[in-house]
Each structure stands twice: as C-alpha cells, then as structure tokens.
C-alpha cells in the first residue's frame, strides 16, 4: 500500500484527489472562519467549499497519477527518471489505464474515452427524443429537460467531437509524417488525462443541488450567472477540456512544423496533416476566449464580479461576443480534421491523386482566416449593433467558397478513378459529401440575415447543427475509425456489419434531422420540453428515426469490440494506400519504424508507374539513385 501511494498510478491519483480536494475544502472553510463568515455559503451560485475542491481535486489526481512527475523533479533539481521506453506500446488492455507517453497508446485512449462520452451523450439524446415524441410531458420535467439537452450538447462537443479528432490524429499523424512520436510526449499524456476529468465534471453536475447545468451549451449570461451550482461545474469542465485542447494543438503544431521526415515539404504533406495544422491554428488562438469567458461567468457567480451583471454596469451581450469568438471557430475545429480524413479515404479508395491538392490546402487556410471574422452571425437577433450584421453576413457567405472548393475537389477526385466501395469508410466519406452539402446549404441560408431573423432559435437550427455535426463531423469520424481500425488494432472489422451500421446511420440521420427543418420554419422553437399540438406527428416520426439512429450505433460497438478481439488479421496496408502510416506493420512497431523514412514525392501519386511517396528504411539505402518513376513524380506532383 505504501509503495502504491509512493509510485505514480491510480492509488496515488486517488490519494492526490482526496488530499488536494481536502486542502481546497479546508482552505475555504479556514478563510471563511477567520473572516467571520458563515462556514458554508449555499446560495445557489456560491458553494465555494464545492467549487474550490472541484478545481484542486482534479489537479491532485493529475499529480498523483504521475502527469507532472518528470517536470516537478526537473524543476526541483532532483535527478529525473529517464523514460525507460518499456512502458511504450500496450501489451494488454491494462496498459491503456496507465500514464503512457506513447502517441499510439494515447491515440487509442482518446478514441475509446471519447466514444464512451458519445454514447452517454447519445443516451441523453434518446431521453430528449422520448420526451419530445408527443406534446405535453412524457418522462421529464421542463427543468430536467433543460439539463438534458445542455449536457447532451456539451458532452458531444467538448468531450467527443473535438477530442476524438485529436485522438485519431494523435495516432496517425506522427506516423504519416514519419516521426517517431509527438514533439512533447509528456504533454500529450497530460492532455489526454485532463479530458476524462472534464467529462466527469460535466456529468457530475447531475449530483449538484439544483441539478446539472441547464443554460444550454452556450451558457448565455445572465441565465448562467444566476443558475444553480451545476453551472459552475460546466465553467470548470470547460477549463479542463480547453486546456487539453490547447496543449494538444501546440503539440501538433510543433510536431508538424519540426518533425516531418526528410523530404516531406509542406506541399508533400497529406491533407490530413494540413487539416490538423489548420485546426491547431484555430484551437490555440480561439480556445482561450471560451476559457476566459467561462471564468468570467464563474467569477460573476462566485466572486460577485460584474462582468455580465446588468444591474451593476455589466454588459450582457459581451458574453455572446466572446463566446462566439471561440465557438464559431470551434465549428471548424469540429470539421476541418474531418475534411482531412475524407481526403485520405476518398483518394485511396478512388485510386486517384487528390484533385487540386494545393487549392485544397489553401482552402483550409482560407477557412481558418475567415472563421475569425464571422462570429456575430450567431447574434443577428441578439440586439447587438445593427450595422455589424451586414459585414458578418458577407464574410459568412464567403466562407461557403472554400468549403465549396473542398466539395468539388473531392468530387473531381472521383473522376477517372477506380472507385472501390467495399470499405465502410468510403461509404461514410461519400455520404458525408451529400449530407454535409445539405448542412452547408442550410448554413448559407442562416447566414442571410432576413432568413435568420425568422428561423434563429428554432428547430431549423437544431436541424442545421445536426446536419453539420452528425452528418458532417460524426460521419467523418466513423470514416476515420473504420479506415484506420486495421492500422490501430492489426485486425479487420466486419464489412457486413459496417454496411448495416452505415445504412442505418444514413437513414436515421436524414429521417431524424430533415423534418426538424420543417417544424422549425413552421414555428417550433428550440430548447422546449413541450410544443404545440400541430407539431405532434412530425415529432413522433423524428423520435422514431432517432431511436433507429441510436439503436444502429450498437451494431458499431459490437463490430468494433468483437473485431478488435477476434477479427481476421489485417496486413500492413489493406487499402493499398500510399501514405507512410500504411508502409509500417499493423499495428506499427514502437517508435513507428526502425529508421526515419525518406519522402520523395506527393502523398497521393496513384496511377503513376513506379511513383512513391516515401522510401522506408531497408528499401534501398540512403542516397541511392532515385528510381526512374520518382523523377517523374517530382516533375508532375502538384
């Protein structure tokens, strides 16, 4: 036991959580005692004796778990314990429950953890749809309903979509650029372990007096500044999720900029790498804004600052400006990595180079730049300065241009290719094009102020978000998971079950979210537990499709779990892809390859005889004559 407490791990983590939590609690009580205040402050926005431990306990866990050990020893001048790489790789499932700095282990940890949150958020969606199946109250009160859709959205956004992409990229990106690991492996592990803490804070808020946070995922002030304790858990959870995101983004930036294999120029990077470069640029610059604004809400609540207190000179609308200055870029944080995945999948399965590769990369950068200048399109009816609506409308509409470039270039990639649709990944990628086009079209409509004035805050919005988030992001996540499943696990999944999952998800998504457009335009507001009789039939149908959509996800889980354990062995390169991650074994060796590969051409040189993207170690020696085919690659590469 004593040894268990001394060594980093779960026991010391538990000890750290309890000890730091107790310290935070004691500090609050002691300070209140010497200030002659009542020891427990239980106004609903208060509870300092809960909030402070909710900050210190997670930090204590991270300390105990060993996330800071190396740095602390180094900072204290103690001899650091060099990583003995024996802990790299995962030899049994138990290894995934340890502090591990191997990017491949972290990648799997990320993906599995975030999918657990996806299913919890999905369960809440099922409860939401059960409540909405008929007008009137079915299963939950209005107040509980508000908590349900708020936590549903927060789990989906902050601990599923955003981090699952970071997880997939964590696994494949270093492989793709021929790097042995991420630039900062310890920071990488810390980023991961902050994530479950964020999820626990979000879900834990259900235990708070007054219930889970219920001001929507947007948490607008002053509803949020006056809301029960659960809201503070949201404010804090966002800090952990945000810090995790920022650290990972920095890690990706440094990895991509400094650790590419020799020969991999920027114009030879796979588009997935470009996509994560762009996403990381968004994350590092935008995420501090949501972290800041949630602190401002927390301070208004707990410390009686007046950022958003209109009675004391606060400015209510400024919350929305700061919030959306993050949250609009965030929608691209949730989409650009998916664009990258789709590019890889489509090029590989169409056996064709990406059409207009450079324009595809530039379009990503264009989206990054533009997405900082459109935030107020979420505020067309918010009562902000009226003239701001027009420039924001124009920039919003313009962002459709780079997005359109991507759609048309994927389509162009298919032409004169040899399209294979045997892989579920390709099915999801193709369906993504169609579904995302619908989401893009409704997005353009929302960008037009007069239309938005009518449909803002109605079910039309709910339809739009799900077309871009489910039909967009989640479809690409499924494509990515199916595509790299053989690489990550060394085994094949079952394509038949994959097809069942695909068709069920496609029909479910359209059946659930298309009619939401109609009821929204016709007058049904969003975020309501009850609605007018006239919308009853549509909602019943929506709920039926939603249950189908939910149920068919179980097929996915079954397929993944069983195939991981019992699936047939996959070769190194089942899709006959070009990029480097497929040139190493499945799963790849520790540190990815015995020698750093040498990149000699673009990543998508299908159809060029003898063309190569990279020369792996052992395939011809350093400095050898470049084979004839490759010279033409250099000549013809875009």
């Amino acid at each position: 036991m004593a040894a268990a407490i001394k060594n980093p791990g779960w026991w010391r983590g538990l000890f750290g959580a309890v000890a730091f939590g107790a310290f935070g609690f004691g500090l609050v009580i002691a300070l209140r005692a010497i200030s002659d205040l009542p020891l427990y402050q239980t106004e609903q926005t208060g509870y300092p004796h809960v909030i402070v431990p909710a900050i210190t306990a997670p930090l204590g866990f991270l300390w105990g778990f060993g996330c800071f050990d190396y740095w602390l020893r180094w900072a204290a001048g103690l001899p650091t314990i060099p990583d003995d790489h024996s802990q790299h790789g995962a030899k049994s499932w138990k290894d995934y429950f340890k502090f591990n700095t191997d990017h491949k282990v972290i990648g799997v940890q990320y993906v599995v953890t975030t999918f657990i949150f996806f299913f919890l958020g999905g369960l809440m969606a099922m409860l939401i749809r059960a409540e909405l199946a008929q007008p009137g109250t079915q299963i939950v009160e209005a107040a509980t309903y508000n908590s349900l859709f708020s936590t549903h959205a927060v789990l989906m956004i902050f601990v599923f979509v955003i981090p699952v992409f970071a997880g997939l990229a964590n696994y494949v990106l270093p492989l793709m650029i021929g790097a042995p690991d991420m630039a900062f492996p310890r920071l990488n592990a810390l980023s991961f372990w902050m994530l479950p803490l964020a999820g626990i804070l979000f879900i834990g808020s259900f235990l708070a007096p007054g219930g889970a946070f219920d001001a929507g995922w947007t948490g607008y002030a002053p509803l949020s500044t006056g809301a029960p304790l659960g809201q503070s858990f949201f404010n804090l959870g966002v800090q952990f999720a945000g810090a995790s995101s920022i650290a990972t983004a920095l890690n990706f930036l440094v990895t991509i900029i400094t650790m590419r294999a020799p020969g991999m120029t920027f114009w030879r990077m796979p588009l997935l790498v470009w996509a994560n470069l762009s996403t990381s640029l968004l994350v590092v610059a935008a995420t501090p804004f949501i972290a800041g604004v949630q602190f401002m809400v927390l301070f208004d609540r707990a410390l009686h600052t007046n950022f958003f207190d209109f009675g004391a000179g606060g400015d209510v609308i400024s919350y929305q400006h700061i919030f959306w200055f993050y949250s609009h870029p965030a929608v691209y944080i949730m989409m650009l990595p998916g664009f990258g995945i789709v590019s890889e999948v489509i090029s590989t399965h169409a056996r064709k180079p990406i059409f207009g590769y450079r324009l595809m990369a530039l379009a990503l950068i264009g989206i990054v730049v533009l997405s900082y200048s459109v935030w107020a399109h979420h505020m067309f009816v918010a009562g902000m300065f009226s003239w701001l609506r027009v420039p924001m409308m124009i920039t919003t509409l313009l962002i459709a241009v780079p997005t359109g470039i991507k759609i048309f270039s994927w389509l162009g990639t298919l032409y004169f290719g040899k399209i294979h649709t045997y892989s579920t990944a390709m099915l999801f990628a193709l369906a993504f094009i169609v579904t995302f086009t619908i989401g893009g079209i409704s997005g353009v409509m929302l960008g037009m102020v007069p239309i938005d004035i009518h449909v803002s805050d109605t079910y039309f919005i709910v339809a739009h978000i799900h077309f871009v988030l489910f039909g967009g992001s989640v479809f690409t996540i499924f494509a990515g998971v199916y595509h790299w499943f053989p690489k990550m696990t060394g085994r094949m999944y079952d394509e038949k079950l994959g097809r069942v999952h695909f068709w069920g998800t496609l029909v479910g998504t359209w059946g659930t979210f298309i009619p939401m457009h109609w009821v929204g335009m016709d007058g049904m507001p969003r975020r309501v537990a009850d609605y007018a009789e006239q919308f009853g039939n549509w909602n019943l149908m929506i709920s039926a499709f939603a249950f189908l959509l939910g149920a068919v996800q179980l097929v996915f889980v079954y397929n993944m779990v069983v195939s991981w354990r019992f699936g047939p062995k996959a070769g190194a390169n089942p899709w006959r892809a070009n990029s480097i991650e497929w040139q190493v074994s499945s799963p790849p060796p520790i540190f990815n390859s015995t020698e750093i590969p040498r990149v000699v051409g673009g990543p998508y040189e299908f159809g060029i005889p003898g063309a190569k993207h990279a020369i792996m170690a052992g395939e011809g020696t350093e400095g050898a004559e470049v084979p004839a085919g490759e010279k033409s690659v250099v000549g013809t590469s875009p």
Binding site: A142, N146, D214, G216, Y220, P222, L223, G226, F310, G314, V316, I317, R351, P353, F355, Y357, L359, V381, A382, G383, S386, W387, R389, V390, M393, I394, L398, A400, V401, G404, I405, I407, L411, G412, L414, F416, G417, K418, T421, V434, T437, I441, V444, M445, M448, V449, P450, I451, I453, D457, T458, M521, D522, P525, D530, Y531, E605, F606, G607, S637
Partner: protein, 263 residues
C-alpha cells in the same frame, strides 16, 4: 486524353433536377401563414435561395452519382485511376462561380433587410417587457397604459417595439410576422413590424430563459385601428413603477435599427 465527359448531358440533368426540386419545394409555404409586410419579402428571398440551393445540390448529386456509376472499379480490378492532379481552369471556375452566387445572395439579403427595417415617420411605438415567464406591453398615449399577456396592434401601420428584459434574455417572435428580436436586460432593443392581416397570433419566447421557457407565450391581436383605439382606451392599469424606471433609461444604450440613423 482521358476520355470525354458528357458535360452537356450532365448539365441538362442538373437543370432538370433543379426544376423538379424547385417545382416541388417552392409552392410549399414553409414558413407558415404570413401576416406582415416583411413576410412576403422574406418568403420570396427563401424561395430564391431554394432555387439556387436546388441547383447546387443537384450539381453535387449529378457529379457524385455519375462518377459512382461510370468510374466504379470492376470487381477484382486492382489498377489505379488516371493520375490527374487537377485542372486550373476548373478550379478557378468553382472558386469564382460560388463567390458570385453568394455575393448575389448577400446583396439581395441586404436589400431585403433594409426594406423590412425601413422606419416610416408615421409609426406607432410600443413597449415590450419580458420577465420569467410572462410578457407585458405598454402603449404610449396619455399615460403609459399596460396589458399583461395580450398584445394588441392596429393593422397596416408600422409599429416599432422597444423591448426590455427584466431578468434574463428572452426573445420576441411572432412566426407569422417573421420578426424576432432578443430582449436583453440592461439595454433596449428594437423591432420593426407592419402587420397586414387582422387576426390572432401567438408570441413565442425563443431564447432559453429557464424552466418556464416553453410556455412563455402571449396572445397577439391584430385589429382595425378603431378597435385598437377602443382597446387601449379601455385599459385601466398604468405601467408599474419598476417598468417605468427601465423605460426612462431607454435610448441611452439603444442600438439603432439599420438605416434608422440612431433613432
């Protein structure tokens, strides 16, 4: 070099599909009944967008399904496609054409926005107060008279609502008017409408404001000017003190409506 594509046929199919989708979708009255001068303008804008969007959607569908039909690999075919890396002219085209389309959409929207928010001299002013979870309204005149849960307005006359939230943000929406505006505590927001159909409608709160959000509704009655006058004259309650205080602070932080020049 790589064989030709039936571009003309594909375009024709795209246009045919656009026509079919538009013919089905345009006649449907998506936004429900309209009852203000803004409604037909917004609905018309929506219809224009439906046609443009049908075209874009049809184009994507035709391009996708033609490719899937024509370039699908035969079973067992392990060869690669043609090594085409792009086509500069095509890439310029699908950058420029969408730019033109969205700029057109933006310009047109701007015009509609100016139109529906164009203030006229001879307008009426009303005050809206929202509070968890009820609406109330004040009518200028001799003194501010006040009604709770029921708003009356005369038909065919522009009315400018000055809106005030007393606690958290609420949003004022009458679907038939197509007009929505948040009521924000601490500032006064403005909405401009010209109701043009006599009838009874519902005012819906569309900004999450707490557990009573779903039921925060009010009755809206649009009636002839004479009936409206009668109704206002019959109101006995005066605007209560706290509301009066908010009203006095109006215009200090009031964001002007577009084109209203600081009104």
């Amino acid at each position: 070099m790589y064989g030709r594509l039936p571009i003309v046929k594909m375009l024709l199919v795209t246009i045919a599909l656009t026509v079919v989708i538009s013919a089905v979708m345009v006649p449907i009255n998506w936004n429900g009944q309209g009852a203000s001068t803004a409604a037909p303008k917004i609905d018309h804008l929506l219809n224009v967008m439906i046609v443009l969007s049908s075209f874009v959607f049809s184009l994507v569908m035709v391009m996708l399904f033609y490719a899937l039909w024509k370039f699908k690999a035969k079973p067992g075919d392990e060869s690669d496609g043609e090594p085409i890396h792009g086509n500069t002219r095509l890439e310029i085209a699908w950058t420029l054409i969408p730019t033109v389309i969205v700029l057109f959409a933006g310009g047109y929207s701007w015009k509609v926005l100016d139109d529906i928010e164009d203030p006229v001299k001879d307008h009426l002013t009303g005050s809206v107060f929202s509070q968890q979870y009820a609406w109330s309204f004040a009518y200028p005149g001799k003194d501010y008279v006040w009604s709770e849960g029921e708003l009356h307005v005369p038909v065919n006359r522009q009315i400018q609502f000055k809106m005030h939230a007393m606690d958290v943000i609420h949003s004022f929406w009458v679907p038939e008017w197509r007009i929505k505006k948040d009521n924000v505590p601490g500032i006064t927001t403005t909405a401009i409408v010209t109701p043009d159909k006599v009838g009874t409608y519902q005012l819906v709160c569309t900004e999450l404001c707490g557990f009573g959000h779903a039921t925060m509704r009010a009755k809206v009655v649009v009636e002839s000017p004479s009936k409206f006058k009668e109704w206002v004259d019959g109101l006995e309650q005066k605007l209560p003190e706290p509301y009066m205080d908010v009203l006095k602070e109006e215009s200090v932080t009031n964001p002007p409506a577009l084109g209203a020049g600081g009104a």
